[in-house]
Amino acid sequence: MARKTENYHLRIPSETANLQVIRNFVSDVAKSVGFENQDIGKIELAVDEACTNVIEHAYHQDSKKDIDVAVKIDFDKFTVVITDHGKGFKPEDVDIPDMNRYLAELRVGGLGIYLMKHLMDEVEYRTQPGVSNEVRMVKYLIRKDNKKKQSA
């Protein structure tokens, strides 16, 4: 099979009950391109965190809104873009915790973006407040061979 770009796209009501569907979708696609289980787990968790933020912070549990999850596969690059049309936020104003202090002070919450940044190779927010917010996360794939899909 010739190498090419592939796009996958899921649009789903914004509710926590759907996190499992989203995780399965992203893991299935990650598995099909040959990621190992540990990396699949990382992608799955990073996407869960991003979607949980959309459900809670962008749409405040309003399940009439939709979440968009797009996966793009290039040769060695797995990109997930999660888009919302909520009120938006300034990522640069978000305080990413120092974990030593965090644990010493027994803080609660505020771990989502920290996790995303440590699980993925690239994490980038593109926010136009009031219009759309997207977070774009990339994981590089170390390929063992030239075939994209194996059937077994």
């Binding site: 926590t16 009950a17 996190l19 499992q20 569907v21 995780r23 289980n37 540990q38 787990g41 799955e44 968790l45 869960d48 965190e49 949980t52 459900i55 809670e56 974990m99 030593n100 644990l103 027994l106 803080r107 609660v108 919450g109 771990l111 989502g112 920290y114 996790l115 440590h118 699980l119």
Partner: protein
């Protein structure tokens, strides 16, 4: 969806909570309810058995953080037993093993309270 299953076993001084399935923003409230109940009943020597937990996100971790201060003030603790590798990796990435003791066997974790 499969979600999470929370079971509880009361021993003399210790309570074991079993989590099975997926702990995320959807299911974390069930774990929260179970811990709140224990705090209300003053049963604060707690072991959380994660042998059958397949997944945890920060919403699940937040439940651990949300109760630990209160429970320790009451002289209790949350100890963790039989965590699967996949879940451990998330705990570990955040440095949680500094705050929560993790044991291979449930009996060992229970023994800490004796």
């Amino acid at each position: 969806m499969s979600g999470v299953e929370v079971r509880r076993k009361d021993l003399q001084e210790v309570t074991v909570i079993y989590l099975k399935g997926y702990l995320d923003a959807h299911t974390a409230p069930e774990f929260e309810k179970a811990l709140q109940e224990l705090v209300d009943q003053n049963r604060v020597n707690i072991v959380v058995n994660l042998a059958e937990l397949n997944y945890i996100s920060s919403a699940g971790l937040g439940v651990f953080m949300g109760f630990i201060e209160d429970i320790r003030k009451k002289g209790g603790d949350i100890k963790i037993a039989e965590m699967a590798d996949k879940v451990f990796r998330v705990f570990d990435l955040l440095g949680f093993p500094v705050l929560y003791e993790i044991f291979k066997d449930e009996s060992e974790a229970i023994g800490q309270y004796r």
